[in-house]
């Protein structure tokens, strides 16, 4: 079997625990299960969208996927190769192929360095290029992400938010990665600029044959860029399926509530549509409810949901749901 037949990235029951408190704090030492039992397969060339409310663990999962966090449980495989516990030096050659774009572009750019240098940095660390080749490659990258060649001499503060995100993307693709994890790449941008970046990401994916893992809380953006979507709640995936299908017929009650909550521009006289309004808040992952973690807010919860935790099962080819009573699909 060649690497082409293997998923580019796979997690098996991946979990991330954080220890909080000390033995001297009031509640003693405790653990938060930020990511709990996530099994996700990402195939070459696709875009997997991760959605969920803040605190559901999507960013933690993203950081585990590129090993910015150490993984507590389960396994992480890159092209079938177990990289769960690889050391930093063993990881280095892989880092080139596995990149990340962050939400706040200004926080990830050193304000005191010229942007040309910032984009050249990964090339210097990983590549064996001469300085002339690096200059050339930087110019190429600037062109690729839609920045002007004379921009290289500027500092980050001289750019608008959208342009800074273009720089973040240029840095991520500098080494010709295979997989890019994008953590809320358009959330900090103005609406009119968001669409530009979404289009840019689509163009780059096509040109450079990239695979994306795309995290955003804006559901319409996620639907636009993703081929497949995983909905997360309290650290676990509750539903997974092809983007358009999942949005058209969400099967888990949480996905239904989430999708129905998105305000859409309507031109009908009555603005209010059939909306599922969830009561209460996301429970603390410190003290997750027993049984199905969604049951305290679920409109259709019954006794069984309070005790027995549903597992993520394939109910139809390509569609997985973790619910005892999924809406028929």
């Amino acid at each position: 079997m060649t690497s082409k037949d293997l998923p580019i990235l796979e997690t098996r029951s991946l979990g991330k625990r954080f220890a909080i408190g000390t033995r001297f704090s009031a509640e003693g030492k405790r653990t938060v299960h930020a990511v709990d039992n996530v099994s996700l397969t990402v195939w070459r060339g696709e875009t997997v969208g991760l959605v969920g409310e803040s605190g559901c663990g999507k960013s933690t999962l993203a950081r585990c996927l590129v090993r910015l966090y150490d993984i507590s449980d389960g396994k992480l495989l890159f092209e079938g190769d177990d990289i769960t516990t690889k050391s930093l030096s063993e990881l280095r050659p892989l880092r080139r192929r596995l990149q990340m774009v962050f939400q706040d572009p200004s926080a990830s750019l050193n304000p005191r360095r010229r942007v040309g240098d910032l984009v050249a940095e990964p090339l210097r660390i990983h590549g064996k290029l001469s300085s002339r080749e690096i200059t050339q490659r930087v110019a190429e990258l600037f062109d690729l992400v839609g920045l002007l060649p004379d921009h290289v001499m500027r500092y980050p503060h001289e750019f608008s938010g959208g342009q800074r995100q273009r720089l973040g993307i240029a840095r991520a693709i500098a080494l010709n990665p295979d997989l890019v994890v994008l953590d809320e790449p358009v959330s900090a941008l103005d609406v009119s600029v968001q669409a530009q970046i979404v289009n840019l990401l689509a163009d780059l994916q096509e040109k450079l044959k990239l695979t994306y893992i795309f995290i955003a809380h804006d559901l319409s953006v996620v639907r636009q860029v993703s081929t497949r979507i995983a909905v997360m709640y309290l650290g676990s995936i509750v539903e997974e399926g092809p983007a358009e299908e999942l949005f058209a017929t969400p099967s888990h009650p949480y996905s239904q509530a989430l999708i129905s909550a998105v305000p859409v521009v309507e031109t009908t006289p009555s603005g209010t549509s059939k909306r599922v309004i969830l009561t209460g808040d996301v429970p603390s992952p410190l003290n997750p409810p027993p049984g199905c973690r969604f049951h305290p807010r679920c409109p259709i919860a019954v006794e069984r949901c309070r005790t027995e935790r549903p597992v993520l099962e394939e109910r139809k080819p390509g569609r997985k749901v973790a619910c005892h009573f999924p809406t028929l699909i």
Partner: protein, 319 residues
């Protein structure tokens, strides 16, 4: 008429010259009406409402024009007089509830303080009113919530507490500046529902500032779209969303990815980015990004005109 703003101009003296943040904004607001103000960052939506609230205290700010609240002129009103109105008849909800609450006092204490600042009632009566208010904004356990500190509440709950505070004196005018932007969609849905309900029960007029077209279309009776300190289009919700006229409004609506139906291969994006207020083009500020720009747009600034559904665009005026 609750609020009538005429030709409002706000400028700031800076090291790089005079920045005109608001350039001739006019609007009216009736009782229990919700006005949605949409625009990108830097479009002047927040500054124009801060001016209404009398919250621009920068000595380098120049405020011109007229802001009439129930017929009374607010521009130039002494701070003492303004303070009597603010929090009492005019209330504001900010984007980040954590900065609107002090971390060192309980929610109950903070809301009671606000009531007692404006009304001459006893502490226990004020506390009883706080409990009522928290129940009204859907706190599951209002009595217990009163003794909580802000950090013990979730983002949505904090925003509800701030709304309860804003409502404590039955304001005739409520200004909400991106109150749901920091919240999750599921929580946002609850807050929007609440604003709708409160408009009905308290008869407050609401100015709702947001960058989210979807939110406006769900909530507002009338909509005002702003760009680079000017109103580029205004109209009723129906008019604006079923017949958007200004190229900017159209482009903005077009750039939102659809939630249903077929996905476009590419999103119709607006090229460029919003202009810097320091270097505004001479003519129409949207001109350089506009798909239908022609000669008149380069030299002249189009006016909004007087009709209820109006767009500040030479192309629209010509058609």
């Amino acid at each position: 008429m609750i609020l009538s703003v005429r030709d409002l101009r706000v400028s700031f003296r800076t090291n790089d010259g005079l920045v005109r943040a608001i350039d001739g904004v006019s609007f009216d607001l009736e009782e229990s009406e919700i006005l949605g103000v949409v625009g990108e960052s830097g479009s002047g939506k927040t500054v124009s409402l801060l001016a209404v609230m009398g919250l621009i205290t920068d000595p380098n700010a120049i405020i011109e024009g007229s802001i009439r609240y129930k017929g009374r002129e607010l521009v130039g009103l002494p701070a003492r007089e303004l303070r009597r109105l603010r929090g009492n008849e005019i209330a504001m909800i900010f984007q980040d509830p954590m900065t609107a609450l002090t971390p060192v006092y309980t929610i109950g204490w903070q809301i009671a303080e606000q009531i007692r600042a404006h009304q001459n009632i006893s502490k226990s009566k004020a506390m009883a009113r706080v409990e009522e208010l928290l129940a009204e904004v859907n706190f599951p356990n209002p009595h217990e919530a009163m003794s909580r500190y802000p950090h013990q509440l979730s983002g949505g709950m904090r925003q509800r507490a701030v709304i309860a505070m804003a409502l404590s004196c039955n304001p005739a005018l409520l200004v909400a500046d991106e109150p749901t932007t920091a919240l999750d969609v599921t929580v946002q849905a609850g807050i929007l529902d609440l604003v709708r309900k409160l408009r009905a029960t308290h008869k407050s007029a609401v100015v709702f500032i947001t960058h989210d077209m979807g939110v406006v279309s769900e909530l507002a009776d009338r909509v005002m779209v702003m760009y680079a300190g000017r109103v580029v289009e205004r109209g009723s919700r129906m008019e604006l969303f079923s017949d958007p006229r200004h190229p900017y409004t159209r482009a903005l609506l077009g750039s939102i990815p659809p939630l249903t139906g077929e996905k476009p291969r590419r999103l119709p994006a607006i090229p460029g980015s919003p202009p810097s207020l320091l270097r505004l083009p001479q003519g129409c500020a949207f001109g350089p990004r506009c798909p239908v720009q022609y000669e008149p747009c380069v030299s002249g600034k189009p006016d909004l005109g007087a009709s209820t559904h109006a767009a500040a665009c030479f192309r629209v005026a010509q058609a």
